[in-house]
Symmetry: C3
Subunit: 374 residues, 3 copies
C-alpha cells in the first residue's frame, strides 16, 4: 500500500450519475428499487412520533392487539414516508418538483419487523412545451412486505406525477402514456367482535371523532402547530431519500438564490406525514385505516424554522358495505404555515403575517361508529 501522503495519481476520476433523467424513462419500464427497508423500532418511533400521531394503534400495543392487530401499527403517513422514499433515487433524484400524488391506497398493515420493498412502473412522459429541459414523468409504485414469506402482502400502491430535468438538453424525448395497472390493494380491516368489549378501551382515543361526530360541510382548524427544525436533514437521510436539496447545504450555498432564504427544502413526505398527525386528534383517532388518497399536492415549500398547521374539511360520508360498525369519511386535508408580511393585514392571519397553504390531500378514511365502539 502506498504511504498515507503518497497516494498515486488516479488513472481516472469517476463521477457516477445518480438517479435518472427525463430521457432515461421508457414506457412500461419497471424499476425494482434498491435497498428495501425493515421497519425497526427506531424508525417506527422517529417518524410516528415526529408526526404527532395520536391514534393509539400506533402508540399502545395493548390497544392494537385488542383490536386484532399483531402489535403496534405503522400509521399511513409513515408507510407512505418509507415506501415513497425507496423510489426517490430511480424516479425523482433529478426532479424539480413532485406535482401530484394520485390514488394512494393502503393494504396490509405494516408492523415493526416487516421489510418493505418497492417497484415502480413508468406510465408516461410529457416534455414541457415552454421549458424544453423539463418534463413530467407519470409513474405507478407498489410496496410489498415480507416478499417470499407467508405474510407477503401489498401494503400500498400509488401513482405520482413528477417534474424531472433532462440530463442532456439535446437528448430527444418522445411523449408517451400507457394505462396504469389494476393493483389489488384492499385495506385490511380487523373484523368486529362484540365479545372483545372494545368500548372498555374507548377512553384511550378521543371521544369526539367517531363517524357520528364528523359533519359534512364542517372545516376543523386543528389546534396544534409544530415547528420543523433542521432535524429534517437527518430524517430525510433515515428514509434513504437521496435528493440533495434536502441534505446538502453546500450545494445550496453555491447558488443560494435558487432556494428561498438560501435554505434546504424539507422533503415533502415530512409535511405530508405531519399534517396527517396534526389532524389526528380531531379526525384520525378513531380511524381504523386510511382507504385512499385520491389526489394530493404540495403547494409551497417548507423549510427549517417554519411552523406547520393543518385543517380538515369534511366533504362527504357514506356507509361501508358489510360493516355496520364503520363508515367512510371523505375529507380534504390542508397544511399551511405563516410567513411574515410586515405592515400587511390579511383576514385569515394575525397582523403582519400571511397564511400560505403548503399541502392539500383528498383523503378517505374508515372511521369507527360510536354505536359500536364507545
Amino acid at each position: 500500500m502506498p504511504k498515507p501522503n503518497e497516494t498515486p495519481e488516479p488513472t481516472q476520476i469517476i463521477r457516477k450519475k445518480t438517479g435518472n433523467y427525463l430521457e432515461d424513462f421508457r414506457p412500461g419500464q419497471i424499476y425494482r428499487h434498491k435497498g428495501g427497508k425493515t421497519i425497526t423500532e427506531g424508525l417506527f418511533t422517529t417518524f410516528t412520533e415526529f408526526a404527532m400521531t395520536t391514534n393509539p394503534f400506533a402508540k399502545n400495543a395493548r390497544y392494537a392487539r385488542a383490536y386484532g392487530f399483531e402489535g403496534l401499527v405503522c400509521p399511513p403517513g409513515v408507510v407512505m414516508l418509507v415506501a415513497f422514499s425507496q423510489t426517490v433515487e430511480d424516479i425523482s433524484e433529478n426532479a424539480r418538483a413532485n406535482l401530484e400524488y394520485i390514488d394512494m391506497k393502503f393494504g396490509a398493515p405494516v408492523y415493526i419487523g416487516d421489510t418493505l420493498e418497492v417497484e415502480t412502473k413508468i406510465l408516461g412522459v410529457r416534455v414541457s412545451s415552454s421549458r424544453p429541459n423539463l418534463g413530467i414523468v407519470h409513474v405507478q409504485s407498489t410496496a410489498r412486505k415480507n416478499i417470499g414469506d407467508a405474510t407477503e402482502a401489498i401494503v400500498a400502491t400509488w401513482q405520482r406525477k413528477v417534474q424531472v430535468y433532462k440530463g442532456d438538453e439535446a437528448a430527444p424525448v418522445e411523449d408517451f402514456a400507457i394505462d396504469a395497472d389494476e393493483i389489488e390493494c384492499e385495506l385490511y380491516l380487523p373484523p368486529y367482535d362484540p365479545a372483545a368489549r372494545l368500548s372498555e378501551l374507548a377512553h384511550l382515543s378521543s371521544g369526539d371523532s367517531y363517524f357520528e361526530d364528523l359533519e359534512v360541510g364542517s372545516r376543523i382548524e386543528h389546534s396544534r402547530g409544530r415547528t420543523v427544525t433542521d432535524e429534517h436533514i437527518s430524517m430525510t437521510a433515515i428514509l434513504d431519500n437521496t435528493s440533495q436539496v434536502h441534505c446538502n447545504q453546500f450545494m445550496i450555498d453555491l447558488d443560494p438564490k435558487q432556494y428561498v432564504g438560501g435554505q434546504l427544502i424539507v422533503f415533502g413526505g415530512i409535511p405530508f406525514a405531519l399534517c396527517l398527525g396534526l389532524s389526528c386528534p380531531d379526525v384520525g383517532d378513531n380511524a381504523l385505516g386510511d382507504l385512499i388518497y385520491t389526489t394530493g399536492r404540495h403547494t409551497a415549500p417548507l423549510q427549517a424554522g417554519d411552523t406547520v398547521f393543518a385543517a380538515t374539511q369534511i366533504l362527504d360520508k357514506c356507509d361501508l358495505p358489510g360493516r355496520d360498525d364503520l363508515g367512510i369519511v371523505s375529507t380534504r386535508l390542508f397544511g399551511h404555515k405563516f410567513v411574515r408580511a410586515e405592515g400587511e393585514r390579511f383576514e385569515d392571519a394575525p397582523e403582519g403575517w400571511k397564511k400560505v397553504q403548503i399541502f392539500e390531500l383528498d383523503r378517505q378514511i374508515v372511521v369507527k361508529r360510536r354505536s359500536h365502539y364507545a
Copy 2:
C-alpha cells in the same frame, strides 16, 4: 368529490378546545388519559441516552439480566418523562407553570415492550388571590403497565401542583381540597443472590459511588455539562406532550416578549431527566432504584442553547430494613446553567457569567454496598 381548487365554503368552522382550564376541574374527578405508550427501543434509546445515564441497567442487557431484571431497565427519568407526559393534555396543556412535584414513587421496573397507561385524580383547586385568571391545581397521577396482563403493575405514582389559566375569566371557581389516595407503589428490588457473583461485573459501573462512598454533608459538583439544542422540540413531540410553548415557534413569534429571547421553552421533564443523568456517574451508577422524590421544582426556564450542569448534596443515609446489601441515600439534586452577565463577577461563576439554578429535587435512592457487590 369537489375539484382541488373548488373546495366548497364550509358550513361551520370548528376550533376544538385543547386541554382543560381552571374552571373545568372537579373534586375527586378522575382522568384516564388518552393514548397510552408502549416503550419501543426507539423511545428507550432516545431518552435514556439523551439524559447521559451511565447506570448499566439501562445500557447493558447482560448486566441487567445478571441482577435478575428481564432485560434493559428504563431509568427513572425516562419512566417519569413518559408517564408524566401522558397527563399533560388533560391537566396542564393550559398551564402557566408546573409548580411542584410531590412524592413521586417508583414501583415495578419498566422494560422495552411494556405499555404504560396513566390516570389522574383531581385533589384540589385554589384560585390565585392576586391574579384571578390563574389558579393552582393539585393532582395525583398513577402509571400502570400492561393492564389486563399477568405483568400488570404500578410503575410510578406522584402528585403535582400546577398553575393553570382560566378559559373564561368570568367563570366562577370554588376552591377545594381533598386527601390524596394511598397508592401501593413499592420499588421493585431484585433479591440479593451471592451465587450470582455480581462482583465479577463490578468494573461495569463506577467504582466510587457505593453506599459506603457517599458521605453525608458532601456536595458533588458533577463534572460534565450538556448543551440542549432545538432537539427538545422533537423530543417533546415524541413524548406526546401537547403543550404548545414547547413546539410552536409561530405562537411565540406572535408575542415574543412573553418568552425569554423569543424562544420556545424546553419541557421541564427534559432537564429533570438530564440532571438525573448528569449525576449518574457519581451517585446513580450503583443505585438499584430510585425510591421517592419527595419534592421537586423548576426554578428557572431552560431554552435551546443553554448548557445544563448538575450537583448533588448528600443529606442523609440509612439502612434498608431486611437488606444488608443495600442502603438508602437521601440527596438533593440541583440543576443549573450559566447566563451572560457582562462585566460582573460572581463567586460561583466565571467572570462575565452568572449561575442560575434551574431545578431542584429531593431524591432518595437505594444504593448497593461495596461490601456485597464489589
Copy 3:
C-alpha cells in the same frame, strides 16, 4: 430532610476527576471499560441511517437472512462508533486529538440485541519534546459481544495513538513502548451457497460495485454530500462519548478562540462513519464485510453546518484464498468539506471555496464477484 430553601452548607465540595491524564498510564495496564452497550433498534437506526449506509445487510432483514446472517447486520462504521466510544472516558477524555487509527479489524457480525463490552491495553507513552504538557498514548482495544453467552465473540480490535494532556504539568512521565498482543479477530463471512439463488436479490444492491467493477487506479468521487447539524451533540451523547468538546457549549464560550468559530467539535467517529456511508453506493453495496483499516486519521476538524463529501481511490485488488466468489479490494477513503475562501480560485473547488480534507482511511473490503451473485 431540610426544607427546599434551607440546604445546609456542605461539609466538602467534591469535583471528581474525569478520565485519565498522561501520567496515569502504565505499560501493559488493562482498562475494562465501564458501561457496555446493548445494540437496541433505536441505536442501530440512528447511526446506520445517519451515515447513509446503503448496503442492504443493514437495511433489509430479508436480504441479510438470505445470505446467512441472523438479521440486520450492524455496518462496520456503527460497530466502530459504539465500540470506540466505550474507550473514550478512560483513554481520551483529556485528549487534545486522536492521531491515528491502526489495524482496525472486524470479526463476528453484530446484531440488534448484542451487548458489546470493550477493554484496552496500554502499549506506549511518549512525552512531547516541544510541548511538555502533552504526550502520545498508544493503546490496543478489543470489543467482545455477549460475554458469557454461547454467542460470545470478538467483534473488533484496533490500536490507536492519541495525544493526551498531563493533569499535573510537573508530574514525571517516562516513555515506554511494549508490543501489541496478537488478537484472534477474523472477519465472519457467510459461506457461499449456490442453492440460495442470491442473484434473485441482486436488484437490491447497486449493480456496478462488484469486485469486477472496481478498477485499480480509479478514484471515485462519491456524488452525495451530507450537512451535519448540531444533531452531533445528541449523537455523541447516545454513544456515551464523554468528551466535553463535543457537547458542552458553555466550556467553549469560556474560551471561544480555542475553537474554530467558537463552536463545538464534531466527534471524529461521526465523519468516520459518514464517509463510509457516503462511499457505500459506489464501493460498499456489494461488500460482504470490512476486513481491516490499516491506518486512518482525521486531518481537519468538522463542525455543525459543514457538508461532508467522500471519495475512494482503488489501490489494489487480490483474490481471497478459498473463496472463488469473493475478492479483496484495497482502497483509500477520503473525506472532505469546503470552506469559504472569498475571491480565491482553487482547481478542485468552485470559485470562492477551498476544499479541505478532513479524513483518510486505508480500508480493505471483501467484495462479492458478479460472476457468483448477479
